[in-house]
Structure formats: C-alpha cells, structure tokens
C-alpha cells in the first residue's frame, strides 16, 4: 500500500494546533500543508504574513517595557509641565487614585499607579503608559468635589487600562525593537544593537508624548476612557454623573483649540453627548461632609 497525502481536515487541524501553539512555527506548518497539497502557496504566504503582522503590535510590549516607556514619557512631560511639590495634595491624589485603580479592569501594572499634581494653570492631564498619571492645578480647579476629581483620575486610568499611549508608537519602531529583542534572547547586546534599541526607545517616547501633549487621541479612545471612568466610579461608589458635572465646568473654562484639553480632547459638550443617556437616571450619590471637608483641605486652594 502506497502512503497517501493526509486529508485536508487533518492538515488544517494540525495547522490550527501549530498556530495556536506558537506563531513562529507557522512557517513550518504552512510548509507541511503545502507539501501535503492541502493549501496553495498563495494561502501559505497569506497565513505566514498575518502571523508575522500579529507579532509586531503594541500588545507585544511586555509590562516591564511599558513601565520604562511610561517613566520616560512622564520624565519628558515634566520638562514642560513642572511638578507641584505639595505633599498634602499629592498624598490625597494618590489615595484617591489608588482606590480607583484598584477597581479598574487593570488594577495591576508593572510598577503600579502613581499620581502627581503639575504646577500649571492649563486645564490638562496626562496618563503615561503603565500608570503614571499627571494632573494640572488648572484641571483640579475645575473639579468642585472629590467625586468630580475621581472622574478625572478614573478617565486617565481608563487610558492606562486600555494601553492607549502605547498605541501611539509607530509600528516601524516596534518592528525594529522586537527584532533586536529576538537576537537578545540568545546573547547580550552589542553596541550597535543597543544604539538601535535606544533610538527606537527615543522614537517611541516622542510618539507617545506628541500624542499626549499636542495631537490628542482619536475621539473613539476618549469615549472609551470616559466609559471606563463611569464604570470605575460606579464600582467604587462615587457618583458616575460627577464626570458630567466636571465636563460642564470644564466647558466654561476651556476654549476649543486653546491650550491643554482644548487642543487634545473633543469639546466637553461632545463628550457629554457621547455618554450613555441612562446616566441621568442613576440614583444620586451623597457627598457627605467628611468627604467635602477633606477635599477642601487637600486641594481646596491649589
């Protein structure tokens, strides 16, 4: 009896196993498939191409690398927007922020969430990858209550949670950096590799910082962060409508196209319009005296 080619279903099943197991062996799988005559060369090329494309997106950045990107992005933004050295305000921001981050869909990042007040009148906030959140005095002043400030921080946590910052990194840089990484798996890096990796890193920091400071995210990502904020506020027990109240106040003080959120975010009116209308029907959450008092004490005169 002469051995025959395996059947098509068997080859496809084997291929599925190989692809599920490890993308880098996809080529071997497609070669097997071709050899058995189950798939054409064209199909094999297409499978290989999509497997390779999968390997080079922001999702391939490990949390540890995200942490180093986030540190550099924060350090770079702090060049333009200096930190406010106010221990009481910063301690309060960190307590509130941590309580919110814990209830997010991504409570754990490599280095954890940390929050800092920026000494700037501009209405602005930045979420560096990995959880370093920076908020200006100008924005904190737009918040009339702890619930409203919670809405601001929860929105920024929403950006961290969905890794929006990392998405701003150009694909070519990731492709280059990840290629070096596969070399690094086997041995330590030479000078040339380290130089290239540093250039990729620098480029990545520029991509993220540009997006955070100048260009802003696409509307869809801002909506996603607002929705994450509403979810987090609800889970923790803050008033989800505080986001709307904060946006109304912001609408009064932010000029469209002006510095800060005016340039990088959709108008507050647009953001309110994009929120779930059922938000208005949610029960009112009380703002007890103890909460009002500590808000005033910590950030009442920033």
């Amino acid at each position: 009896m002469k051995p025959r080619n395996p059947s098509l279903p068997a080859v496809l099943l084997l291929l599925a196993v190989l692809i599920a197991g490890c993308a880098s062996v996809t080529k071997l799988g497609t070669q097997l498939g071709q050899g058995a005559g189950a798939i054409s060369e064209e199909q094999a090329t297409s499978i290989n191409r999509s497997a390779e494309a999968l390997e080079k997106t922001f999702a391939d950045i490990t949390l540890e690398q995200e942490y180093y990107i986030g540190r550099a992005v924060a350090a770079t933004i702090l060049q333009t927007y200096p930190a406010a050295d106010e221990p009481a305000a910063n301690a309060y921001l960190n307590e509130l922020g941590q309580a919110l981050a814990m209830a997010s869909d991504r409570p754990q990042t490599f280095g954890g969430y940390h929050f800092l007040l920026l000494d700037s009148e501009e209405v602005n906030a930045f979420a560096a990858p990995g959880g370093l959140v920076l908020v200006t005095r100008g924005l904190v002043r737009c918040c009339g209550s702890e619930d409203a400030l919670a809405a601001v921080l929860a929105h920024e946590i929403g950006h961290v949670q969905a890794k929006h910052g990392l998405r701003a990194i150009k694909k070519s840089r990731l492709t280059s950096a990840l290629a070096i990484l596969s070399v690094e798996a086997a041995r330590n890096l030479g000078d040339e590799d380290l130089k290239q990796l540093t250039a990729d890193f620098e480029g990545s920091i520029m991509d993220v910082t540009q997006t955070l400071v100048n260009n802003g995210y696409a509307r869809g990502l801002e909506k996603e962060a607002d929705e994450a904020a509403v979810a987090i506020l609800g889970r923790v027990g803050y008033d989800p409508r505080a986001l709307v109240m904060m946006l109304v106040r912001m609408g009064e003080s932010v000029k469209p196209g002006g510095p800060g959120f005016g340039r990088t975010h959709p108008t507050p009116q647009d953001r309110i319009g994009a929120l779930d209308p059922s938000l208005a029907n949610k029960p009112v959450v009380a703002d007890p005296a103890a909460r009002r008092a500590r808000f005033t004490r910590a950030v009442g005169d920033v």
Binding site: P6, I69, A75, A83, L181
Partner: protein, 162 residues
C-alpha cells in the same frame, strides 16, 4: 491508510488538548509585585505577595480573578492583569531560550526597553525630569490604606465589589 489518517487526527486532537491544558494550568506573574487576595475582589484582603516571573498553578477562574497556588504552596486570588500565559525568562541564555521556545511562549525579563536603555536615554536627554518620576513612584498607597480612605470618605460600593 485509514488507520494512518485516524492516527494523525488523534495526535492533532491530543496536541490541541495539551496546548489548552498547559495554557490553563500554569501562568506567570508579569508585574513587579503581584497581590494574592483572600477573596476574588478588589476589596479582598491581600494575603501574600508574588514576584515577577513566579509560576503559578491555576486552580480555577472567576470573572477576572484566578485562584492560584505558588511554588511554596501559598494560595489566593490574583487579578488577570498581573498574569501572562507566557513563561517569564529572567536570564538571557536561559534553558527555555536555548530549547528554542518561540517568542510567543516566553517573555524575556530585563530585556528590550530596560534599565540600560533608560540610562542611555537619560544621558541623551539631561532635562528629562527622572528625579520627580522617582519621587512619584515612592508615593505608595497600600490596598489597605486605599480601603481605609474610601471608608473615611463614606464612599460605599453599590451592589458589592466586582
């Protein structure tokens, strides 16, 4: 011939099972410090800490929480954001790398954008304010402190914890 085909199918099915089983059974900690909690909730008491690269055996999953056991036999619930299905390899030239495990199966710790690259970046960008980034990272609020903060502000979760 028939038997050969059937044998191949059976092998493929076993391979699928093995991949799925391995992926479900063992996970690695992908954050510097992972929190093992007593209950599957963000308000659950933190019972123990696990470190980057630790391999955990999954007992069960509930929503975003895994019930796990570490190498020392400690058990608890850990949020999925702290875990990866990849094996975290702590040293270059590690046996896992030498054995040819693909990039999709392992994550190299301390590689790529790392402390060394940060050092190069700092040298070229002297104005970048890393001093404040370090101060910021030193502002640590423990889960217990965060829970106490919410209680002091009378912030009460509706419908219980997630």
């Amino acid at each position: 011939m028939r038997m050969w085909r059937r044998g191949l199918l059976a092998l493929a099915v076993m391979a699928v099972g093995a991949v799925a089983w391995a992926a479900v059974q063992q996970m690695s900690v992908q954050v510097r410090t992972g929190q093992l909690r007593a209950t599957p909730s963000h308000l659950g008491k933190v019972a123990a800490a696990v470190a980057y690269g630790d391999r955990l055996t999954v007992v069960q999953k509930q929503g975003a929480w895994y019930s796990v056991k570490d190498a020392r036999g400690r058990t608890g619930w850990i949020h999925e954001s702290a875990l990866t299905t990849k094996r975290v390899v702590l040293k270059a030239g590690d046996a896992d790398v030498a054995a040819g495990a693909g990039g999709d199966e392992i994550a190299l710790a301390g590689k790529g954008f790392n402390e060394q690259v940060e050092g190069e970046y700092k040298a070229q960008n002297a104005e970048a304010d890393y001093a404040w980034v370090d101060r910021m990272e030193a502002m640590v609020v423990t889960p217990e402190q965060a829970v106490a903060f919410l209680a002091a502000g009378e912030v009460v979760a509706k419908g219980g914890a997630q």
